[in-house]
């Protein structure tokens, strides 16, 4: 089969590799019909994630058709159309039973999980196509994927598209996003504990930021303020009449946020940027230099702003990925204002099915973020474009 393989920072190759096969009784093999490039794939692309090996297959957002199942699989069968949750969870450990799927005890077997254990104290769940630190599972930017714990992580789609007016290809783009970023945006908003009248500021208008914004509105937010530095992304967010787009490049961001919230500050802030944040001024330059010198692993530019902007007693929700250590964390501001910080990898399995139902019932449509549709062979160019945020690129979907 053909697959998108990693060979080093900014070196991806589409190659012919051996097909996957059933390894464990709980596995299924899925023929991929559509996959996507995630913002977090850029951390691998740029070489910020340890534990990558030459030839690793990328991609954790994918859907497809089941072609083979292992002997212990009971709930899915060949020919089922499925969306696969991007996190891998066993469904049987204490954490899975308590809805903490991204903390699954059993899915990450990798010896490199040592790295996580040393850095974090305990290793989290595995993820498709996300380095050997995260389990070393091959990803979905390929023609075929081995899906472990298939009963646990596959959402079976109705046999035919739900609506006759919506062709299968359109429906596919909507439901594909249930594999990762729609649950991520939804949980980011849910972590804000939104009350009527709340104004939610979303830092970063990439895919997760966009879907955090519509999730916050769906969960009852009065208004969303969306912040970014890329015009096309601001335009996309601002198309929603209940979203105010703020260009961070214009400066005085905190003052403008205060002005938009009667001096209170946003009731909740979502950091949908993570460890590769860009910014202006001495702090941003300081972060870039430190990261380049390997003196800090993450650039917390957006996180600092979110903490400083948030109203007293508010919540900062962090779906943006952080990997290591950060510097100049405004702990005094967080403490002084009594903020609640909620963060972490999304518990995908908790949200997938109910969100899929909402999407199929047209109550929620995340597909507005898809800007580019390419074939698997175009993956290296698509990554380059997405990484440069060129050509208005927000979300790339790929057909094998």
């Amino acid at each position: 089969m053909r697959a998108v393989c990693w060979y080093g920072p900014r070196d991806l190759r589409v190659q012919e590799v051996a097909d996957p096969a059933i390894v464990q009784p709980h596995d299924a093999i899925v023929r991929v019909t559509l996959s996507a490039i995630c913002g977090s794939d850029l951390h691998l692309y740029n070489g910020f994630m340890p534990g990558m090996r030459k030839g690793d297959i990328l991609g954790h957002e994918f859907m497809g058709e089941v072609i083979e199942v292992g002997s212990a699989v009971e709930h899915i069968k060949p020919a089922d159309r499925v969306v696969v949750m991007c996190g891998i969870s066993c469904g049987r450990c204490w954490f899975c039973k308590h809805d903490l799927f991204s903390a699954c005890d059993n899915s990450n077997p990798s010896p490199s999980a040592d790295v996580m254990e040393t850095m974090y104290g305990h290793a989290g769940a595995a993820l498709f196509g996300y380095s050997h630190v995260m389990g070393g599972y091959s990803g979905g930017q390929a023609e075929l994927v081995r899906v472990p714990f298939a009963d646990v992580g596959c959402l079976v789609l109705p046999a035919a598209p739900a609506s006759p007016t919506s062709p299968a290809s359109v429906e596919a783009e909507k439901v594909l996003l249930v594999s990762d970023i729609l649950p991520t945006g939804w949980m980011a908003a849910e972590s804000c504990g939104i009350q009527p009248g709340d104004i939610v500021a979303v830092f970063g208008c990439g895919p997760v930021g966009q879907l955090s914004a519509i999730s916050a509105l769906a969960q009852g937010a009065e208004r969303v303020i969306a912040i970014d530095r890329v015009q096309a992304r601001l335009d996309m967010a601002g198309r929603n009449p209940r979203v105010t787009a703020l260009d961070a490049r214009e400066g005085r961001l905190l003052a403008r946020l205060d002005a938009l919230t009667g001096g209170r500050g946003p009731d909740a802030c979502i950091d949908a940027v993570g460890l590769e944040a860009d910014g202006d001024g001495p702090a941003a330059i300081y972060d870039k230099v430190k990261q380049k010198l390997r003196a800090q692993s993450d650039r917390p530019t957006a996180l600092r702003m979110a903490i400083q902007a948030c109203r007293k007693g508010g919540t900062v929700s962090i779906p943006g990925v952080y990997g290591g250590l950060i510097d100049k964390f405004p702990m005094g501001a967080a403490f002084g204002k009594g903020l609640t910080l909620k963060m972490g990898q999304t518990h995908f399995h908790r949200y997938g099915k109910p969100l899929l139902d909402k999407v199929l019932a047209s109550e929620l449509d995340p597909s507005f973020i898809v800007t580019h549709r390419v074939g698997l062979d175009d993956a290296p160019d698509a990554y380059r474009m997405f990484n440069a945020k060129a050509d208005g690129c927000v979300k790339v979907v790929m057909r094998p």
Binding site: A18, D19, P20, A21, I22, V23, Q24, P25, H26, I57, A72, H75, M85, C90, G91, R92, C93, W94, C96, K97, H98, D99, L100, F101, D105, N106, S107, N108, P109, S110, P111, A113, D114, E117, T118, A126, H132, G135, G136, Y137, S138, R146, P148, F149, D151, V152, G153, C154, L155, V156, W186, S191, K342, H349, R350, Y351, G352, K353, P354, L355
Partner: protein, 250 residues
């Protein structure tokens, strides 16, 4: 004292011969030989050898201990350990264990001529709670193991602590010891106990391998290799979820 008696006698004889011969030569080489002989004599008389001490002091004593919590009953986990033959299914560093008697077993680490084999006896057994074993004197390896089981609070299952201690029996065993056991760190033990948890909770060992031949031999072991029947646990499936309100704790 770290020189065995036979070696002391041999050293003494060699030392005396070198001293006598060296003094008899009456030249610089002779005096050097005599000095060496005197040192050997000292070694024989005191039974202490600084060279051996340095060699043995650098002997890596492996002493690792890890705890894990497994969603399984205390009696099931105990039965897995009590029948030692099942341990290699999840203890990656152990190649083979043969039960040789009601309280004895023969352990092998590594394969072929470079392997280490020793006999161990159970030294303590409290059914369902504690199990300790120790190698016999004169084997290929000094080894000790101790298992402790406790009920975890609430619905968390069983807490397991395993301590393993390995020591090369003498200078000759050092090379294979280093080769076979250098990777036996606390992380490795945690990984091996994680495999037991995977087997007992999910019925298989987790692996990122895309094809069976890319997984290690032991990765394809199933719960059957533990010799216990584990009730099939109900699994939480994403597809069975109906509500967006969080049911569990956040």
């Amino acid at each position: 004292m770290n020189v065995p008696p036979i070696e002391r006698i041999a050293t003494g004889a060699l030392g005396a011969a070198a001293l006598t011969y060296g003094l008899g030569r009456r030249d610089p080489l002779g005096y050097a030989l005599a000095a060496g002989g005197a040192l050997l004599g000292l070694r024989a008389a005191t039974g202490r050898c600084p060279g051996y001490r340095r060699l043995l002091a650098s002997t890596p004593v492996i002493d690792v201990s890890r705890s894990v919590t497994i969603l399984s009953s205390r009696s099931t986990v105990y039965r897995v350990f009590r029948d030692f033959e099942h341990l290699p299914a999840f203890l990656e560093h152990v190649a083979h264990v043969e039960v040789t008697g009601p309280r004895s077993s023969r352990w092998t680490i590594g394969e072929g001529p470079l392997s280490l084999t020793w006999d161990a006896d159970i030294t303590e057994e409290i059914e369902g709670r504690r199990l300790a074993w120790e190698s016999r004197q004169g084997g290929g390896l000094e080894a000790e193991g101790a298992l402790e089981l406790r009920d975890a609070p609430g619905d968390r299952g069983t807490e397991l602590t395993l301590q393993l201690r390995y020591l090369a029996p003498g200078p000759l065993g050092l090379a294979p010891f280093r080769r076979l056991l250098s990777g036996m760190t606390g992380h490795q033990l945690a990984r091996e106990l994680g495999r037991l948890r995977q087997l007992l909770e999910t019925g298989a060992i987790s692996t990122g391998a895309r094809r069976p031949e890319l997984a290690g031999d032991k990765e394809t072991a199933s719960t059957a290799s533990l010799g216990v029947s584990v009730p099939r646990r109900r699994q939480v499936r994403a597809d069975a979820r109906t509500q967006l309100t969080p049911a569990g704790r956040q």
